[in-house]
Subunit: 320 residues, 2 copies
């Protein structure tokens, strides 16, 4: 089943959110088109707004209130993508940046700041202090995750805990907050919105682990970039950590550096793909999904709960 | 009179704020030391916290409440300095960035994000929705100012309005917000905190214009960088705009580009310094200060009002 068909009953509300997203970045600043591009590129999926709306369905759902939470979380996600781009751009042009390339990066940095600022301006339409508190904490953690991701590049002595903490901050927390803050804005009782947070956290962890697996198993066409890009860029993901339990693979992996070429790394990517590492990573993703199903069982039965169940199932099976 | 002596009665409270500032960026993340450096470098002045405290003195002053506003505004200021550094670093190393230099810039970008996030986490300790709303709007405007500053570099066809809008966003708004939000946190009546905002805005405009004048009239030692650095980096400030009314100066100014060397620009800096432009810029700064004095006259008489008067007077006379 296609992901978007699972929540087609949210389509009217998602269309409202889409319009507000467009309006929020249009403004009168031409430089923000770069940021706008990002919003359009990731268009359609809108995972975070979907989670916000589904969280809201557990309580007093009012689209005119909840849309502000959905737009805010999608904008925060977008801002982080724009800043990630600054990092990636710099790498792609390593050693030979053009003035124009650097100019764009500077603009991108401030554009990211601007989008983050805009998201805050939208959320302040809602006077709920808990909302602001949880959101501010999430932003701090996401930023720490970004710093860690750079710090941990090419650090082959990192352990599983290090990886899990990083993807928690990088991905899972924003999904968890989407589920929770949608519920908070709908005045859902504390014990319910805390469980929705946990559901989002587990699903977010499985989502990122699956992403990291697909970077090895996907085709270049499916991924829109060469398979193995993560390792090539020094990002040590779960399959790599598991593969390093094999002494021969470990020997090859620790050789990877900023000077490694795509051609040089290809045999290693194939070896990791054919090792047990992928299966082990899938097993951990499945354990997180099991936890997500379990916590859903403790939530009030409703249509949104069924959808959350299906979304979790989809994430476990997606191929790209 | 030394600036800090004007508000020595705030010293105990400023010491509390200093401690909270240190604690807020220490954390357990070594990469944040770079950001910490910035806080220490600008140490002592703490203009924004001073304005916050003075704003608060017009109402129900509680240091345990108001310190959060002061720390938040100083952190937002710091975050913007850290991001400005990314821009400046890149320029200094134009054409030949080292891996290390780029690495630092990436970390600096995320460190700025982190500091901004931390500031939000602190302000959410206060449940006042107006505070959050005004603050979010200020952040958006400051970001727009940063984008504009890059966009407007080397754009010699810009007019006075363009410059004024830019320094409003870049400097004056954060000072205006400091005065106002300190007052809002102390439950000052609307008509009073709006006037405090205006006072801060006028003083902030005069402050930045003075800064832009000093970039021409200060010695290299006073400035800690070569005089004329602004124009050298393509920043068109008020003295430059006034100097361009002189056709011969204009001819030279529009030749300035990214390829202009320090030696080449020196005679031009001297010519601008000796022209009427400096006096004209001082006159505009004084007009803003007059407006600041006038609005102070409409505020309730109190010790804080006297201090705000003295601070404005100091800003008009400072030599570096």
């Amino acid at each position: 089943m296609k992901l978007s068909l699972m929540y087609s009953y949210l389509n009217t509300d998602l269309a409202i959110i889409e319009k507000e997203l467009e309006a929020s970045i249009k403004g009168n600043h031409p430089v923000l088109q770069q940021a706008g591009l990002h919003l359009l590129q990731s268009g359609g999926k809108r995972l975070r707004p979907v989670f916000v709306l589904l969280g809201g369905k557990f309580g007093d759902y009012d689209i005119n209130v909840i849309k502000n939470v959905a737009v805010t979380l999608e904008l925060i996600h977008t801002a982080s993508l724009v800043h990630d781009d600054v990092i990636d751009d710099a790498d792609l042009r390593r050693g030979k940046p053009t003035i124009k390339a650097k100019w764009d990066n500077k603009i991108a940095m401030y554009a990211g700041d601007y989008i983050l600022g805009s998201s805050l301006e939208i959320i302040t339409k809602l006077p709920n202090p808990l909302l602001h508190k949880l959101l501010a904490h999430t932003i701090v953690e996401v930023c720490l995750g970004e710093i860690e991701q750079i710090k941990d590049k090419y650090r082959f002595d990192q352990n599983l805990r290090c990886y899990l903490r990083r993807i928690k901050r990088k991905t899972a927390l924003l999904i968890a907050s989407s589920c929770q803050l949608g519920a908070v804005a709908a005045d859902v009782p504390t014990e319910v919105h805390k469980k929705l947070f946990l559901y989002g956290y587990y699903v977010g962890m499985a989502f990122q682990i699956t992403d990291d697996i697909l970077d090895f198993t996907g085709t270049d066409e499916q991924l829109g970039k060469p398979a193995g890009s993560d390792l090539m860029q020094g990002n040590i993901t779960l399959p790599v950590l598991y593969a390093m339990k094999n002494e021969s693979l470990k020997q090859q992996i620790v050789q990877v550096s900023e000077r490694t070429t795509a051609a040089e790394i290809k045999p290693l990517i194939t070896a990791i793909k054919q090792s047990d590492a992928i299966k082990q990573a899938e097993a951990l993703s499945n354990r997180y999904l099991e936890k997500a199903y379990k916590i859903l069982g403790e939530l009030p039965a409703c249509r949104a709960r069924n959808t959350l169940y299906n979304v979790a199932k989809y994430i476990g099976k997606r191929k790209f």
